[in-house]
């Protein structure tokens, strides 16, 4: 609607400039490169364009400025010129100004403050998109002074009708928290409200805010846990990731370790396992039995997300299973993870990283199992058998993979290797050795070494294979093999004299320092073995010659070798050793000099220090513990899988440790959501609202029919689905209210629940401070006064509805709230379903922004209905009368309530009376009455429809179908009915009126002199024409009336001066409304 207005007022202005600006545009587009010179003349240029009155020039200027920002050029000196345009009505200019503001406001805080009022105004705009974007910008500009304003805006927006605005509010919370952490307590309350929101759109963002602001407050999650699990599938992908992450942590604090039984069994009850397999079965049973139902719910509901197209969702579920699921269930994630390997390179890298880590851990478990339960255990083997093993081939390296990925795959293959597949893997490794990628070749040789060390059966094969590689033409291969062989020989017991001898010969050829060092170490270590002992002095001699040119690692090993030889074979090598030591004494590297000093004293002791020297041989030639060759991914277990910290293997800022499972699970009842309580402590009621999903929420979801329910319910909800889809285009508040409605249609039993839940929603909508009680009371008063006025016609109806209420198993009234329910229902019986479903919540979300202006009930309500369609023109004897009830519409407060009286004057019963084919202009929505099953001859029925005219007086036409015959009906609102009465003090009235001067004020001098005694008469006339409330006036000659437009909530103020210069003044922000109202009042006063 607002856009319609815009087009109307500004469309004309814009045409000309855009034509003139065209040539310029083309010229700029032609030379995009030379556009942005940081040249002051250019900026003057831009300033002029920004100052011009033409939108097209402004737009062009803004585009160029955005271009500068995008390129990272400084455009801050334009700030004053740009910020002026924040009031621009052109939506694109406005948007670009917003972008600019967000970028530079931090630097120019004082000037930025100028724009705040615009946002505050926009926050009350009828258009939800504008409200939302205003909130977004307001919260993004990072100016500490406006923290209170932000807080206020967030608090208001949290109870906005539009879920989109509420979502934006959720996004604003962490921004405010970053700006001013002291607001935390209040923000937590806001988050608590958002968490209990029923729309899937909001929930994801709410959890995001929760994670940012108060991740430690698990108590807030209790009540929402089941709801979150239930709606998880329907939340957008990014929200899913965040919720899954949060739930993982939550579950770690609330449930016990599902695997604890398993491991305990295998460790303690080892003997039993060896006896029989039955025990085994038992162990398994107890294992699955201990799972908390909520724990299982979480696992069950996250499982379908493995089929998401979004890799991070899949990864999220995988890590959830990894950290939470019983061991035998973890395997279901593998297939999905493997799928991700076909994705983009970056995704592959991260996924492989995680798999590498998982495969290490799983592997460990296999080993544990093997150790403890050697013989029987076919069952356990199946369970624990490596979950990735069946997919071994997916990790085979392709030549087109990036090096990183190749290495990760190799790592995984190595982790997966076991007795059964090792030959297979080794054959694959062989092809890698002839690969062109040197890194891969090197890593492959390492991997072979690891396999050989890990699997006894193949050690010898691997070793001989590696030795064969020593004669490879590629030096890198040889060098790498040497290093690996060295490690292998250490772990492998036995005499390896010939191998060492063979390697010793390589010293001449190999230049890679690591390999040389490895060979020297080996020679030194085995210098007493038969074959080596002969060669060793020669090796040392050879090395002594090249000592000066060696790398440091090699030098150190030469020193070691010299010392060892000198001890074992002093006859041949003592001199040589001394020579080497004296060379090293003057080495540049102090490490080497230190080492020399240390060795010299041990090997060539001066007499008094001989104490240690006696043991020198033992020290040097002691058997050394073998190095453990293991995966580099071994120690990553401390981090949560899939997190940045895990990827980098270091603690990242903001990383939260995954808590360990509690030994005893905390009370699981905290997640129960109780049935409604008579009293209204805010928290417990909020709990109720969260409970609703267990019944109502399920049906709301898009996938409703698929949720496991009875077949008949399925069908029904399916149809209501399609219905809500179609109607959602019209309802401003679609998602939520529609579905609520449909669910309440389906089973009336629920309706009570839901209405309760809606009441709940209303309490926090008021700022948190006033207790819920107060508000409900005011509401009661309001609605009771309403019923007073409308009681004439609907007395009998309210009786009916009472019955309805009772039949729907409502608890006897105990509190104001229940009373309130009764009263509301009294409006009219047929709309019962929608009445109980929606109204209160939406009522409550009326922004009570200015406490001084409060809605009141209508001062006058016409009781006489007007004919809309006569019995003749309808063609079927149906007469339709209408009347404005002037009560707040129960479906949405921005709707005008129209009561239709349907009278069947014909001579046959009408069936299936309903409204169809609503042909709504943009911005207008309608809430039709529930279909009447039948209308007997002569019967009269009252039904209500709500129409949101969006503050325009456009015609709304639709078809009313009776017995399949359409009757065209046309609602043409009078502007006076688009207003709702409000009251305020006179001061506020005058103050507000003062703000609405100029264009917003319409006045008219009344020509026929009005007498003072006519005052009452005038009031009545005004009340008849328009739905406003009179304001007490201190001046006897002035009459004041106040109202508020239904959709946009803008104030409408009417003043009538009586006396010498009688004058009628209408002030309204909406100029069209103002002028039309003036015209109508003029007309009314004339008569």
């Amino acid at each position: 609607m607002a856009s319609g207005n815009l087009g109307l007022t500004y469309g004309g202005q814009e045409k000309t400039p855009s034509l003139s600006g065209e040539t310029e545009f083309a010229a700029e587009a032609g030379a995009p490169g030379g556009l942005f010179h940081a040249d002051y003349k250019r900026h003057d240029d831009l300033k002029q364009m920004l100052d011009s009155s033409k939108d097209s020039l402004k737009l062009e200027a803004m585009k160029r400025i955005i271009g500068m920002i995008a390129k990272g050029r400084d455009a801050s000196d334009l700030f004053p010129a740009v910020v002026k345009n924040v009031v621009s009505k052109n939506i694109e200019v406005k948007k670009l100004v917003y972008v600019y503001l967000v970028r530079y406001a931090e630097e120019q805080q004082d000037l930025a403050l100028l724009s705040i009022s615009t946002f505050q105004r926009a926050l009350k705009d009828p258009n939800q998109l504008i409200r939302a974007s205003a909130l977004r910008v307001l919260s993004s500009i990072r100016v500490p002074v406006i923290v209170p304003i932000m807080m206020l805006a967030i608090r208001d927006s949290v109870s906005d009708m539009s879920p989109y605005v509420r979502k934006t509010a959720a996004h604003a919370i962490p921004k405010l928290y970053d700006l001013d952490p002291e607001q935390k307590d209040e923000l937590v309350m806001v988050i608590e409200r958002l968490l209990s929101d029923q729309t899937t759109l909001v929930v994801g963002s709410a959890v995001m805010a929760f994670e940012q602001v108060c991740p430690e407050r698990t108590d807030l999650i209790h009540k929402n846990f089941r709801k979150l699990c239930a709606v998880l599938v329907d939340i957008e992908e990014w929200g899913q990731v965040i919720i899954i992450g949060m739930l993982t942590r939550y579950a770690r604090t609330q449930f016990t370790d599902p695997n604890i039984n398993g491991t305990n069994h295998s460790e303690k009850d080892k003997p039993f396992y060896e006896e029989s397999e039955e025990d085994d079965e038992k162990g398994k049973q107890t294992e699955s039995l201990v799972l908390d139902p909520d724990h299982r719910l979480l696992l069950r509901n996250t499982k379908p997300l493995l089929q998401s197209r979004n890799s991070s969702v899949v990864m999220g579920v995988a890590q959830l299973y990894h950290h939470l699921a019983p061991r035998e269930d973890v395997a279901i994630v593998t297939r999905a993870l493997i799928r991700l390997l076909r994705s983009h390179r970056e995704v592959q890298t991260v996924v492989l990283n995680s798999i590498a880590s998982m495969s290490v851990n799983r592997k460990v478990q296999v080993n544990v199992a093997k150790k403890f339960i050697l013989c029987v255990l076919t069952y356990f083997f199946v369970v624990l058998k490596d979950m990735f093993e069946p997919f071994l081939k997916n990790f085979f390296v392709r030549s087109t993979d990036a090096t990183q990925i190749k290495l990760l795959k190799l790592e995984i293959l190595t982790n997966l290797a076991n007795e059964s597949n090792i030959t297979f893997i080794l054959r694959e490794f062989q092809t890698y050795i002839s690969s062109q990628d040197r890194d891969l070749v090197a890593a492959t040789i390492q991997a072979i070494g690891r396999c050989a060390a890990g699997i006894k059966e193949v050690t010898d094969t691997c070793l001989s294979g590696l030795i064969a590689l020593l004669s490879n033409s590629d030096e890198l291969v040889v060098a790498e093999s040497v290093v690996v062989i060295k490690k292998l020989l250490q772990t492998h017991q036995g005499s390896h004299g010939d191998i060492v001898g063979q390697m010793a010969r390589l010293v001449n050829r190999i230049t890679v320092p690591q390999a040389r060092a490895a060979i020297l170490w080996l020679v030194g270590e085995h210098c007493e073995k038969k074959r080596v002992s002969k060669m060793a002095p020669d090796v040392l001699r050879f090395m002594a010659r090249t000592f000066a040119n060696e790398q440091d690692v090699v030098k150190l090993q030469i020193l070691n070798l010299a010392a060892k030889l000198c001890l074992s074979n002093p006859k041949q090598t003592k001199v040589l050793c001394q020579y080497v030591f004296s060379l090293a004494k003057y080495d540049q590297n102090y490490d080497i000099r230190d080492r020399t000093r240390f060795l010299r004293h041990l090997v060539f002791p001066s007499t008094e220090q001989a104490l240690l020297a006696k043991y020198a041989k033992k020290i040097f030639l002691a058997s050394k513990p073998a190095p453990v060759i293991e995966s580099v991914f071994k120690d990553r277990d401390e981090f949560q899988l899939g997190s940045l910290s895990h990827y980098l293997n270091s603690r990242v800022v903001g990383y939260m440790d995954l808590p360990n499972f509690p030994a005893v699970a905390p009370d699981s009842n905290v997640r129960n959501v109780e049935s409604p309580r008579p009293v209204i402590p805010v928290t417990s009621l909020r709990g109720n609202s969260a409970s609703a999903p267990s019944k109502g929420k399920k049906k709301e979801t898009f996938y409703s029919e698929s949720s496991s329910e009875d077949d008949d319910v399925k069908d029904e909800s399916g149809s209501s689905d399609s219905k809500s889809d179609s109607s959602s285009e019209m309802d401003s508040d679609s998602a939520e209210s529609d579905s609520d409605e449909s669910s309440s249609e389906e089973d009336p039993d629920d309706s009570v629940d839901i209405s309760q839940q809606n009441i709940v929603r209303l309490s926090p909508s008021l700022s948190p401070s006033p207790p819920a009680q107060r508000l409900s009371r005011t509401l009661v008063i309001e609605s009771s006064s309403e019923s007073e006025y409308s009681s004439n016609s609907s007395d009998s109806d309210s009786n009916d509805s009472d019955k309805v209420v009772k039949s729907s198993r409502m608890p006897p009234p105990k509190s104001n709230l229940d009373l309130l329910l009764d009263l509301d229902v009294s409006d009219s019986a047929p709309v019962m379903a929608s009445v109980s479903g929606i109204p209160l919540g939406t009522l409550a979300s009326t922004p009570i922004t200015d406490s001084s202006v409060q809605p009141v009930s209508a001062a006058y309500i016409s009781t006489r209905p007007t004919e809309l369609v006569s019995s003749i023109s309808s063609g079927c004897g149906l007469q339709i009368l209408y009347r404005y009830t002037r009560s707040i519409n129960l479906y949405s407060p921005s709707m005008v309530t129209i009561e239709l009286t349907l009278v069947n004057t014909g001579n046959e019963e009408l069936t299936e009376v309903k409204i169809t084919n609503k042909n709504m202009p943009v911005g207008i929505s309608m809430h039709e009455f529930t279909t009447l099953a039948s209308l007997p001859v002569g019967a009269t029925r009252l039904v209500t429809v709500g129409i949101d005219f969006g503050d325009s007086t456009q015609n709304v036409s639709c078809d009313l179908v009776a017995s399949g015959r359409p009757i065209k009906i046309n609602f043409r609102p009078s502007v006076g009915e688009l207003i709702r009465p409000v009251t305020c003090t006179e001061g506020v009235f005058i103050n507000e009126q003062g703000k609405l001067k100029g264009m917003n004020e319409h006045s008219f001098s009344i020509t026929n002199t009005l007498e003072l005694e006519d005052m009452k008469n005038i009031s009545t006339k005004i009340f008849r024409t328009t739905n406003m409330a009179s304001i007490n006036s201190s001046d006897p000659n002035t009459l004041r009336f106040a109202g508020q437009t239904l959709s946009s909530k803008s104030l409408v103020l009417v003043t009538i001066l009586v006396g010498v210069n009688p004058k009628l003044t209408v002030s309204c922000e909406k100029m069209i409304i103002g002028s039309m109202l003036l015209a109508e009042l003029k007309e009314a006063l004339k008569n």
Partner: protein, 425 residues
């Protein structure tokens, strides 16, 4: 979460930056450039720039697509996949807007790009990423649209919230109207395989996807059923697909987004035998290390194997040669061969395989003089297509539409391609 985004082109210029929170100075990119330089120094491809780089205060998470690096800067813990997936989504969106996401397109439409970036993230958290919704918020640029805008003074930016954002089907825009209602489904299967020296299959798998182009008015509810759905091993879906329905009945039931999208992907795993449509006979040898000869030999013959009665088309072999090779001179009986001396890739565009006259290539490999010859064997990367068939045998049974009254035009197309198809020589 995501603080800033830098877009970097091939020559290492930051040509676009966007900050969703406080400004992060451009100098942070130096760490990235350093990593990039390191990769170049190690003689590796652009693909090898690490996708996560930790710097003292920031974490740079990058993706490489279409010759551009998109580098997101984060300052605290975040799942790296979340960021990576998001960056890819952004590129996908840009591709939808400008058909191709390259430097010149981004530079030309920087305002639209900026508006989009502003819309997809709020304070570093994804806000709206559904293409259907974004296209309603910000109109994709096109010539006619630009003309209309300049004439009427309207803007590309919508002033109302797309109703899809609030509905239960957030991926579909509202009020879709077409005069021709049509729905096309392309079933595309890619064969991934590794075939070893002897010609036996080491690994083979089929990865399929269903690409749809649905232009239907209103809010249609479609169901797609297969004759043999059990073939599919592992599936992933567009969010529009009702998961329970698939689980229980193996039927795809969904309200489609408007326009083209990927409905599902699936795998046909190792369990079922995968037909390998071609075979290669090859002979490749390099001169012995110490020999005087500076030439090696290459000979390749390609033939059809299990092609299900179709002709193998668009066959193309690319062979990355070892670095020490100077040039290749080959003679062919079919197609065209080129050797790129920089990347050392021998590319043979074969075309169709005629079973009566098999494509054949033979020739010589010239070694750089003085280079050390390493006995390494290249592998052949194969591309081919088979039209009108899904090699797994998957067939669509029927497509039904509910919820609307018109009769749509429906079409299904099958195509088999080589995915990651490698033959080791």
């Amino acid at each position: 979460m995501i603080h800033s985004l830098f877009v970097i082109n091939h020559s290492g210029d930051v040509f676009m930056e966007k900050h969703w929170r406080s400004i992060i100075p451009r100098t942070v990119m130096d760490y990235f450039f350093e990593a990039q330089r390191q990769v170049v120094k190690d003689n590796k491809g652009h693909e090898d720039v690490p996708c996560v780089i930790a710097t003292p205060h920031h974490y740079l998470i990058s993706i490489y697509r279409n010759g551009l690096y998109f580098v997101a800067v984060c300052m605290s813990e975040v799942p790296p996949l979340f960021v990576i997936e998001f960056l890819h989504t952004v590129v996908d969106i840009l591709e939808k807007y400008f058909t191709e996401c390259n430097e010149s397109n981004i530079k030309e439409h920087y305002v639209v790009v900026y508006e989009l970036l502003d819309e997809v993230l709020d304070n570093g958290y994804p806000l709206a990423t559904e293409p259907n919704i974004l296209q309603e918020l910000i109109k994709p640029p096109n010539i006619i649209g630009n003309l209309i805008n300049t004439v009427t003074g309207k803007s590309n930016v919508s002033s109302v919230l797309p109703s899809g954002q609030l509905s239960n089907v957030p991926w579909r825009r509202a009020d879709v109207k077409y005069t021709n209602n049509e729905a096309y489904f392309d079933i595309i299967e890619e064969v991934d395989a590794i075939i070893d020296k002897t010609g036996s299959t080491v690994f083979a798998e089929i990865a399929g996807k269903i690409e749809c182009c649905v232009r239907l008015s209103g809010t249609p509810d479609l169901t797609l059923s297969f004759i043999n759905p059990r073939l599919m091993d592992d599936v992933s879906f567009h969010p529009c697909v009702r998961l329970k329905r698939w689980e229980n009945e193996r039927i795809l039931s969904f309200v489609p987004p408007d326009g083209s999208f990927c409905l599902m992907t699936y795998h046909v795993g190792c369990q079922s035998a995968v037909a390998i449509p071609i075979y290669i006979r090859h002979n490749f040898f390099l001169p012995k290390e110490n020999s005087q000869s500076q030439t090696g030999k290459i000979e390749i013959t390609v033939g059809p194997r299990q092609t299900m009665g179709r002709v193998v088309e668009n066959l193309q072999l690319s062979i990355p040669m070892p670095k020490f090779i100077l040039n290749c001179t080959v003679t062919l009986n079919q197609g065209r061969a080129t050797f790129d001396p920089v990347t050392k890739i021998l590319l043979w565009e074969v075309g169709k395989i005629d079973p009566t006259k098999l494509p054949n290539m033979r020739g010589q490999i010239h070694i750089q003089s003085g280079a050390v010859i390493l006995q390494s064997t290249p592998s052949v990367n194969v591309q081919f297509t088979l039209t009108q068939i899904a090699i797994s045998g998957l067939k669509v049974h029927r497509l039904d539409m509910f919820g609307e009254n018109y009769k749509p035009f429906k079409g299904v197309k099958y195509l088999t391609k080589a995915g990651n198809f490698q033959i080791r020589m």
